[in-house]
């Protein structure tokens, strides 16, 4: 092997090692970024506050019949705001299904959205959402000031909002239910409380 060929091989080895190092660093930064952002469901300071009475709505469901949202029924309600065109919402549907099975004794899961009835009934059939009450109401979304999806609101048995926030995964939905059990509004509030002590 000539010196030129040898130097070529050595250059390739270092070149590939360097590119892989850059890729690994970029990935680590990406992972770190996701860890830095709050792990619990993010609450945004809009709409009725946690602890206040939830606005009460009586709405028709896509499956037929009416449902009362936000009233003191003695059971908790998990209002899940979604849209047929949001990929993360779709991904959370199986999680909601298992969650509603698991928490059946105390929590009712209600899906909420707004928009064209046709689009939603198609979505309702395609995703087999019969087990859930599915309501369409722009007023409901306005009342809770929903600006980003998927958004979840937990209403306690007495009709008071006990937790709410933007949810992107199973842990965040569960964090809302745990927040309700612990009596804190969100993980951020919990951390703020514990840090003060």
């Amino acid at each position: 092997m000539t010196a030129l060929a040898m130097s070529n091989v050595l250059l390739w080895i270092t070149n590939i090692a360097l590119v892989i190092t850059v890729l690994a660093l970029a990935r680590q930064i990406g992972v770190l970024n996701e860890r830095v952002t709050p792990v619990g469901a993010l609450t945004m300071d809009h709409g009725p506050k946690v602890g206040e009475a939830a606005p009460v709505f009586t709405l028709p469901t896509l499956g037929g019949g009416d449902i009362v949202v936000g009233a003191a029924t003695g059971r908790s309600q998990l209002l899940f705001f979604l849209s047929p065109t949001c990929p993360v919402c779709k991904k959370l549907l199986p999680i909601l299904r298992s969650l509603s099975q698991h928490e059946r004794a105390t929590v009712d899961v209600v899906l909420a959205s707004d928009g064209e009835l046709d689009e939603h009934s198609l979505f309702y059939q395609r995703e087999k959402l019969k087990p859930f009450p599915y309501v369409l109401s722009a007023d409901l979304g306005m009342a809770f000031r929903i600006s980003k999806l998927p958004y979840a609101v937990v209403i306690g048995p007495a009709g008071l909002i006990s937790a709410k926030g933007l949810v992107n995964n199973r842990e965040q939905i569960e964090s809302l239910l745990i927040a309700q059990e612990m009596g804190v509004a969100s993980l951020q509030e919990y951390r703020a409380k514990t840090q003060k002590r």
């Binding site: 070529n8 890729l23 970024n33 949001c86 990929p87 993360v88 991904k91």
Partner: protein, 184 residues
């Protein structure tokens, strides 16, 4: 160095790199159909039935393009297929940026949550230039130790570089999101 040999090596590098990129994108989409379905749908460029067909046919087409690029006799077909796919993806991205819907998930293979941006359009333009090279460069040439080492190493380096660039673009979006949040 012979001009034809350089072109041959360049073509081989382009073909290997593009085949890997297309194959990895296809595998990524096929591993999570539900997510891919949602991603195609939110681009909002086709009625539901057409989008359903697209969801099922795009990943196999990407795989087919990747396979064809690797076969010397079919590399031109593979490059043309890849070009059509890239034109379709880039068109969809430009259309949605123009509509002001840049905040949707790009669904670009490998990185989750990457939003639409001009950087993506530039990246796709780069991929299309590589496709043009892959389709036009000679498919036969001398195969000796040095060409093999050069072609293989350059391809591995370029594939890793492509994913590094994707990840860095995603990181950049996250950083700008964080800095705008802390400013407000």
């Amino acid at each position: 160095m012979d001009y034809q040999v350089s072109l041959f090596m360049l073509g081989e590098v382009a073909r290997l790199t593009l085949a890997a990129i297309f194959a990895l994108a296809a595998i990524h989409a096929m591993r999570d159909w539900t997510m891919f379905d949602g991603i195609v749908e939110q681009y909002r460029i086709a009625p539901r039935w057409l989008a359903m067909i697209a969801v099922r046919s795009l990943p196999p087409m990407e795989l087919a393009a990747a396979g064809a690029l690797l076969v010397p006799m079919m590399s031109r077909v593979g490059a043309s297929m890849g070009m059509c796919l890239m034109a379709l993806f880039t068109g969809a991205i430009i259309l949605n940026i123009a509509r002001g819907r840049a905040s949707i998930d790009c669904g670009c293979g490998g990185v989750r949550g990457q939003k639409l941006s001009l950087g993506l359009v530039l990246r796709n333009a780069g991929v299309m230039v590589a496709l043009a090279v892959a389709g036009t460069a000679p498919t036969s040439g001398p195969i000796d130790g040095m060409t093999v080492i050069g072609v293989l190493c350059a391809s591995v380096a370029l594939i890793a570089l492509y994913f590094a660039v994707n990840q860095l673009m995603r990181n950049f979006q996250q950083f700008s999101a964080i800095s705008s949040r802390s400013r407000s």
